[in-house]
Symmetry: C2
Subunit: 477 residues, 2 copies
């Protein structure tokens, strides 16, 4: 068995997953959202490539989610490097950047490019498929992984192969998302596979293909990363130069232009969780065709999917047929099940109307943990802060608000104007306007603090930072 | 113009309005819920009978809502007496009790019986209709008020009159909620009116009719109120004896058995807000037939009614047709618009499953104001308390929890173990397990306190009361 030591997983983590609003939003997109069981899709992706003794992964992510990436990896005891895209440029520039970075750092083995937001429960089967593709990759082929179709799906692109069976097939064409009739025909004919966007290729081969098909893009990316800056695990290309990189998908830019692509069929369970219907499809339906998650109740409903993600909110359907409803803390979507592909329209409408729920969750993840606003009213706000073990917030002060902290779990170490004190569970402390202060968790247990803010202005931007463990910019939260 | 001085409005306030879940629940039923504009239906009902110089009203309500009744009346500067039904016995016993009470207290004029949960915006027209009925009532008639139908409604009972026009008509029959064909026929024929459950009758006549048609019920009610106890404005019949009173509606028990009933037609706007469709019908629809309230967004929806009652929650519909969705703090209903009459089934299902949202709101109204739970988690809970001006909580202690109070608006007067102190906005105070304490608002401004509870048990029943301004029972909250 191949141990994958010469393979670097390149995980694309820049997607926003707006079709899964309201659970997935810019502030916590699909790959980090609690969509499946206990973990999230990014974590499951990391697990998938931790089991086959791959090299440490290279992640391409956006600035906003860098601490998420690091924390998830740390939770699994994994190390990784994170390439931070200054702006989304679709998949081709991200992958070329990854290849250039690997090459520059002496890795001329193979790269396994994979999305961070797919569900592939069969890790062993996945690993075996990668093994099956290695010989072809070593023979300078770009090796796609095709999902054996289980029905005439119209939501995926298809890979057409020369033969219908075998461990490694030759690709003869790619097909866009088909109409139903075409999908049925392909299913009947055989030799067609769903394009999961996963592929294996040697670094040299990928760069050669880029040189051949996208010389300008390659040059622009090379230029942008020539003076890449490093900050611990984070690598940043030049933001101005990155703007000049053309945006295109790897499929259009390179793969569909090649004529020697291989495809390894994968018949294990797979889902791209691309819309709410596919998220619910992971569950079995009850006898009425309903799929129910969390605190929900269906009265006389059929073919209806209900999910309340918040255990303090009850969602009830009455007499519904073909409805999908998802409730979170601060936003609820009720959609006709035939329209789940259009959920991104909601995000566009809310964005245009300036509704914060378009992009922001109530729970705000920070490198030290997270906080959520429990209530905002004129003159005061109540938050719950969760500080990770051994983490601390920045040393800061506020011009317009005072803060009362009540420790409700764990022990806080609080610094106020140079004086440090321990604040135990069921104790409180007061931070006056202007006080220079810092909240820290010096223990191995989580710290939970209820923060009551009072003041005429309570915006997150009322903060002066004197020192920060996470090198966050002045205006950054 | 008759000034109504000899008319006592008898307001029936015992309904639970379960067809308007989740906004209406036992803890704050329909007549007190914020269904219409700024006020609530009970308040509007009080206003309606405050404008025609009626006598002070007599309210029949349940024990659970007595402070609500009093507070609403006080807000309008009105005095009232409140008969507290120990248990719901439908409308006939409540009305007979009211008549007996009026008679015993020297009022032998007229009583105007009216539900507390209807919407009748035209107070002047309403008052004129009452005037029109007075002569008939003085001639010992029971005078119903019939709403001129605006369509073939199948959700109401109908009053059939001998003539179709005139200020006071003779009633020849009552009809149950009809099928559509029958409703259309009645509308075409004329002389039919919707039965709004409002009637005017002299106290003596009502008692004579009870004697004639319901001698046993009359005797049972007489028995239950023989030793009625008074506690300020509250009057309580004997609970054990009340149990023996048969439950029946005034329509079945008396009105439909009489042969000399009058009907005053009322052509002003009226709604019983009997289900969600009729609540939304108060609003105009947009060009797609949608009615939208609060923080909601409709994308490609038609004939859809959406309401988010909570300004921190966004409700979005996508591609819906004929859906009604109502979101509150802790519960969301999504119903097929053709099923709004069946919303009470939801309450039954939730009740059976022991789901608190069946009957309880997050906001809990108390005689001193209200509180709401912002978050409950193992070991701690955060509440927001709103104390009315010049009100105070009971003197109490807790065995299992400590409390941190942060004043975020107003000024609190706090008593802890015999020591009293003022706690201003942006100050806090700590109440240890076992401390005897009291929170008071001695000012003319509302007081808002954030309470952080910590402890192993946080139930509302962990309370020892030493003194209470509101004479609440030991186990009562």
């Amino acid at each position: 068995m191949n141990t994958h030591h010469s393979i670097v997983p390149v995980i694309l983590c820049g997607g926003s997953g707006s079709r899964l609003w309201p659970l997935s939003r810019k502030s916590l997109p699909k790959q980090f959202a609690p969509l499946v069981g206990d973990g999230n899709l990014f974590e499951l992706t990391l697990q998938r490539i931790s089991e086959g003794h791959f090299n440490k992964p290279l992640i391409v992510a956006s600035e906003a989610h860098r601490f998420h990436v690091l924390k998830q990896a740390a939770n699994l005891g994994m190390q990784c490097e994170v390439l931070l895209e200054p702006a989304g440029r679709n998949t081709a520039p991200a992958i070329i950047m990854a290849a250039l970075h690997l090459k520059a750092n002496g890795h001329d083995g193979h790269m396994l490019v994979l999305p961070s937001d797919h569900l592939i429960p069969d890790h062993i089967g996945f690993s075996e498929a990668i093994n099956a593709g290695m010989t072809a990759s070593q023979n300078s082929k770009l090796v796609t992984f095709g999902i054996s179709p289980t029905g005439p799906e119209t939501g995926y692109g298809y890979i057409q192969t020369e033969n219908s069976s075998g461990a490694v097939l030759d690709v003869c064409a790619f097909h866009e998302k088909p109409a139903v009739a075409k999908a049925e025909q392909m299913l009947a004919e055989g030799g067609y596979f769903w394009n999961a966007g996963i592929f294996l290729v040697s670094v040299d081969r990928l760069l050669a293909l880029a040189e051949l098909h996208q010389p300008e893009m390659l040059a622009a990316v090379e230029d942008a990363i020539a003076d890449m800056t490093r900050d611990d695990s984070f690598l940043r290309p030049d933001a101005e130069k990155w703007k000049l990189v053309p945006a295109e998908s790897i499929d259009y830019a390179i793969i569909e232009k090649c004529d020697d692509i291989a495809c390894v069929p994968f018949s294990g369970s797979w889902s791209d969780l691309g819309d709410w219907n596919s998220v619910f499809a992971v569950d079995g339906a009850d006898k009425n065709g309903n799929r129910l998650r969390g605190g929900v109740t269906a009265v006389d409903c059929v073919n209806t999917n209900l999910w309340s993600t918040n255990d303090q909110t009850r969602l009830v359907g009455l007499g519904l047929d073909g409805i999908v409803a998802v409730a979170t803390d601060d936003a609820i979507m009720v959609a006709n099940a035939s329209r789940t592909q259009d959920v991104r329209e909601i995000v566009a409408v809310l964005d245009k109307a300036g509704v914060p729920q378009a992009h922001q969750h109530t729970k705000d993840y920070r490198p030290w943990g997270w906080f959520e606003s429990l209530i905002v009213a004129p003159g005061y706000q109540v938050k719950r802060l969760h500080v990770d073990p051994r983490a601390r917030l920045s040393l800061q002060s506020h011009q317009h608000r005072s803060e009362h902290w009540v420790v409700v779990a764990g022990t806080a170490t609080v610094l106020i104007n140079e004086r440090e004190k321990q604040v135990n569970t069921n104790e409180s402390v007061y931070i006056n306007v202007g006080d220079k202060h810092r909240l820290a968790n010096d223990t191995d247990q989580p710290l939970v603090v209820i923060e009551v803010q009072t003041g005429s202005y309570l915006g997150e931007d009322d903060i002066v930072r004197y020192h920060d463990d996470f090198s966050r910019g002045l205006g950054e939260l």
